[in-house]
Amino acid sequence: MSEPSSHQAPRPADPAGTEEASHLDKVIASSYEAGFVTAIESETLPPGLSEDVIRHISAKKNEPAWLLDWRLAAFRRWQGMTEPTWAHVHYPAVDFNAVSYYSAPKSMKDHPKSLDEVDPELLRTYEKLGIPLAEQAALAGVAVDAVFDSVSVATTFRGKLAEAGVIFCPISEAVREYPELVQKYLGSVVPQGDNFYAALNSAVFSDGSFVYIPKNTRCPMELSTYFRINEAKTGQFERTLIIADEGSYVSYLEGCTAPMRDENQLHAAVVELVALPGAQIKYSTVQNWYPGDEHGRGGIYNFVTKRGVCHDNARISWTQVETGSAITWKYPSVVLKGDNSVGEFYSVALTRNLQQADTGTKMIHLGRNTRSTIVSKGISVGRSSNAYRGLVRISPRAENARNHTQCDSLLIGDACGAHTFPYIESRNPTATVEHEATTSRVSEDQLFLCRARGIDAEKAVSMIVNGFCKEVFKELPMEFAVEAGKLLEVSLEGSVG
């Protein structure tokens, strides 16, 4: 039931199908609409990683001594760690000394107090990406923190959120303004030494968002962070911390893009969620980092640690639509610490060209009557490789814990691969753990039926893929479900010949 399984796309039985499959293989470079570069003067640290670099970052951000010490401790741990190699991804070793760990637009040096003081070129960048930062132009009901390379350039609707007692600000600011909250929770869910990339992030993290929702408060708006990498040869090390106090609710979204470049760029993020008793956090991601070109040149290496902890009766839902990055290494997880807590993971991961994704989740059931649901939809196109890796662990104390995992793979063309690696560790006999997995392929017959009804091949593939992803898309906030559908469509452009 929980055997790992691998599928290289099966050759179609129908000989006429082979012809079409070769058409399907012809994945031409599809348009990556966010691939532009913003021409802006930046202050960028020379490449390289050392204690000095960390001190420099900390000083840039006017950090208190405790945080510098925390970073340095993480750095020392990281130096003793090695890059994990268990994921089903292949890439040349990253030279961590070839990466710049801090880059910020020069104009951000004077800490603009309002949007009027922000460099218009930066504002235009976000506008071009469909994220207007002027509140009157913004999507109704969504507050945005815009992170550009290593700094947050603006956070919208802070006034309105403050009225509800909600704190939404760059984490670098939270460190100064709300040190007790940050100090209490930073690293509480993802400890410094959790893994290689988490340790690296802890040492050099630059910006990300901080959210605090007070007790029994329903956050009046959707919160979102838009991450943009702009500068060449620069890594982005975002750190996000969300604390939902007792009985509160928040829906948070993140989006990300980067310019098209021939060299790979590193993104190593840590996201920590704390859902205190009775709280609910819904975290949605539309990940569209530059995926590299059709020859596998360039693209973001996305090594991300996302984890949430649920106290009694709390609920955390991760929903992700992953279409970008050359390499995705990401397992948003939930530690179901409290009794009756709920963890959910809904994922669509699409890989094309030479993209590689190894993604999934961990549901750690510690409390009684804890429940988790995993729905993973992997779509592989071209020569890409798409792996689901999921762990469901039931601890001895987790009476009546329940998990249901549904893991589906869809293959387009005959040179891609889909793999599933489910790990189930149940140490409580009252627990129920269910795992279902399917693999299917967009067949030539399906395409021909669509085309014979007047629907062109591209539209047909996008319709079939959207149908396949329906269960996940319905978990996304509405506007974003539409976005995600469009993004898939763009990503699939040219996936059929």
């Binding site: 006429a16 021909f448 039926l449 669509c450 014979a452 009804r453 629907i455 091949a457 149908g467």
Partner: protein, 251 residues
């Protein structure tokens, strides 16, 4: 309406259609019969422009226009419709969504107005009723988990909505019970008019009891080896194809 001239077609480098000619006038119904493996489905596939079926000689004229090089979707938009012998399942894509996309493309290309959501729903429900499919089928994935007969009725439902100029039905009657057969026949008959033609590929006389053809052809060895009126079908029912195979070999 449709003129096929000396059509030669290969599948996987092997010649299957070997000089097939056929003329179908407006408003006519032609039945194509013939032994298994004689090339009937190949003909249907070639007419619809399926990839992997290579036309090596001859031409296909649809309303006077050579369509030999057109993509399947372009032919569909010109009013050709193929009801599949084995309709494939498309899980997750609802029948409604599929029909909507299809109708939008086809009607737009034909310069007809694209139905609004209300009209579309009404028409879709009506079509369901006509082919005796429960409306719940509209919400289900295309052919997903449908029985053999339901799949065939679903094909006819699509045809009723698309109102093609030329309907090609590839063994739509095979494996149907008598009720379903009547549904198919009624579907075709309700569309029959002076401007619309049909090609019925079938093995059985019983479909032709319900849809009376103007012409009957026998396809064997990749060619039409005999043509006649509706009586020919009866004769074939009685004598089988054996006596014609010799004719094919000789020709």
């Amino acid at each position: 309406m449709l003129e096929i001239r000396n059509l030669h077609a290969n599948v996987q480098g092997k010649e299957i259609l070997k000089g097939l000619s056929l003329t179908i006038g407006s408003g006519e119904v032609h039945a194509i019969m013939g032994p298994n493996g004689s090339g009937k489905s190949t003909l249907a596939a070639v007419l619809s422009g399926r990839d992997g079926y290579e036309v090596t000689a001859g031409e296909i004229l649809f309303n006077g226009e050579d369509i030999t090089g057109l993509a399947p979707e372009e032919r569909a938009r010109k009013g050709m419709f193929l009801a599949f012998q084995y309709p494939v399942e498309i899980p997750g894509v609802s029948n409604l969504e599929f029909l909507k996309a299809s109708l939008e493309q086809v009607r737009k290309a034909q310069g007809k107005d694209v139905w609004d959501a209300v009209t579309f729903m009404k028409k879709a429900r009506e079509a369901c009723t006509k082919v005796n499919l429960d409306q719940a089928f509209l919400k289900r994935g295309v052919n997903e988990g449908f029985s053999g007969g339901e799949k065939k009725r679903n094909e006819i439902m699509q045809m009723l909505l698309l109102e093609p100029a030329l309907g090609i039905l590839d063994e739509t009657d095979s494996g149907l019970d008598i009720d379903a057969l009547q549904v198919v026949a009624q579907g075709v008959n309700s569309l029959r008019d002076a401007g619309r033609s049909f090609v019925l590929v079938t093995h059985y006389q019983r479909l032709l009891d319900h849809i009376v053809p103007d012409h009957v052809h026998v396809l064997a060895g990749g060619r039409i080896v005999k043509s006649g009126g509706k009586e020919l079908a009866l004769e074939l029912e009685e004598k089988g194809y054996g006596w014609l195979k010799d004719a094919a070999a000789a020709g």
